[in-house]
């Protein structure tokens, strides 16, 4: 469990190459899945196309739950990419982790708070951007005075709280999952007795982690659309 993170210093910017590697792998997997699934597009869908269409309809359903489709249609691509990205990122760390020279190289990219907070901040900044775009500057600031003007400070705090909870929820779930998998793996590797003891719990926890990973991806996209809806719609 005592592992460090690799660190590269490039032109004064610090990079964690493990994060970059895992982000790249995530992007590659998502891209390959999506592109392979949408090769032979047909009016009458088969196989993988069905799966992709199911994801599209699923995200469409999330958006439609929060705002009307005329406003929300533009977030469709963001939502699909986000849900696939977060889900694949959550899954990557489950089968194994790779440490090399005491540094952790293979893990879920979402088990790193920098990445989840970046995603969360990106989403929240996007909500502000679209809020201004949809309602105008005046309309955007007016939302802070609703429902009561004296609640404005709370509304400002809410924005930061949203960002924080959105990012940390994802990080916490995935990181905790990996910690427990790591602990169980260490236990299993320790002795024959430990292997027997760890076998069933690690199987159960892996299954549960898959479930958590899917749920967290769904929650992330769901909350993205909820925040988005708060910003782009006045009638709330």
């Amino acid at each position: 469990m005592n592992h460090g993170n690799p660190d590269w210093d490039l032109y004064g910017l610090h990079f964690n190459p493990a994060n970059i590697l895992m982000l790249f792998v995530t992007c590659l997997v998502v891209f390959l899945i999506a592109v392979i699934a949408t090769r032979n597009l047909q009016i009458k869908p088969t196989g993988m196309q069905n799966f992709m269409e199911w994801i599209m309809d699923f995200v469409k359903g999330i958006i439609k739950n929060n705002m009307d489709w005329k406003t929300g249609g533009r977030f469709h691509v963001l939502g699909i990419t986000l849900i696939m990205f977060v889900f694949v990122a959550n899954m990557l760390g489950l089968p194994f982790g790779i440490q090399w020279k005491g540094e952790l190289w293979w893990k879920s990219p979402t088990a790193d708070p920098v990445i989840t907070m970046t995603l969360a901040a990106m989403v929240v900044i996007l909500t502000h951007y679209y809020g201004v775009k949809q309602l105008g500057v005046k309309g955007y600031f007016k939302t802070y005075l609703q429902p009561m003007p004296f609640l404005a400070p709370l509304k400002v705090i809410e924005e930061f709280a949203n960002t924080l909870t959105l990012g940390l929820r994802l990080y916490g779930n995935i990181f905790a999952g990996e910690i427990l998998i790591g602990l169980l793996a260490t236990l299993g590797a320790g002795s024959a007795f430990g292997l027997i003891g760890a076998l069933i719990p690690s199987l159960a926890w892996l299954g549960f982690s898959v479930f958590i990973g899917a749920i967290q991806a769904f929650i992330f996209v769901m909350l993205t659309m909820v925040y988005m809806a708060h910003k782009v719609q006045t009638d709330h």
């Binding site: 004064g12 990079f15 999506a34 990419t81 990445i115």
Partner: protein, 184 residues
Amino acid sequence: MLGNTFILLSANGGGFLSSLNNPNGLNLGDIIVTVLFFTVLMVLLKKFAWGPLMGIMDQRAELIANEIEAAEKSRLESHKLLEEQRALLKEARENAQSIVENARKQGETQREELVTAARAEVNRMKESASLEIATEKEKAVAALREEFVSLSILAASKVLGKEISEEDNRALIEETIVKAGESR
């Protein structure tokens, strides 16, 4: 550009950003890479996957709408045709019935006519036959009478022993015979 800015910011030293960009704190580089990767992924996927997929889904929705419309149209049309056919069938049935009725009536009339004609013919034939019979009878009676007259004259001449002029007495004898026939 961005890198230079960060160099400047971190070169300032001691600032907020440089504390963020600490290997033991947050990695600014990771943040940039995350946003960059995600944006690139989104753009690529939109171009290569979601765009075409959305296109095909829209196309399908359109196709389905068209099909539904066409089905509705053809349903109405078939309904109309069915009504038309039903009306035609009804008309044809009525026509057939009237034709049969007409034929029956005509047949009846014809039969009636034939019967009347036959009856008239029979009457006519009967009449002519009875007329002929009467004529023949007249003739036979006349012939018989003539024969009788000649025989009577012959007998009388034999009795009288002399020749009676046939021409002289014939009228007398014939009158007698007619009287005898009437008295009988």
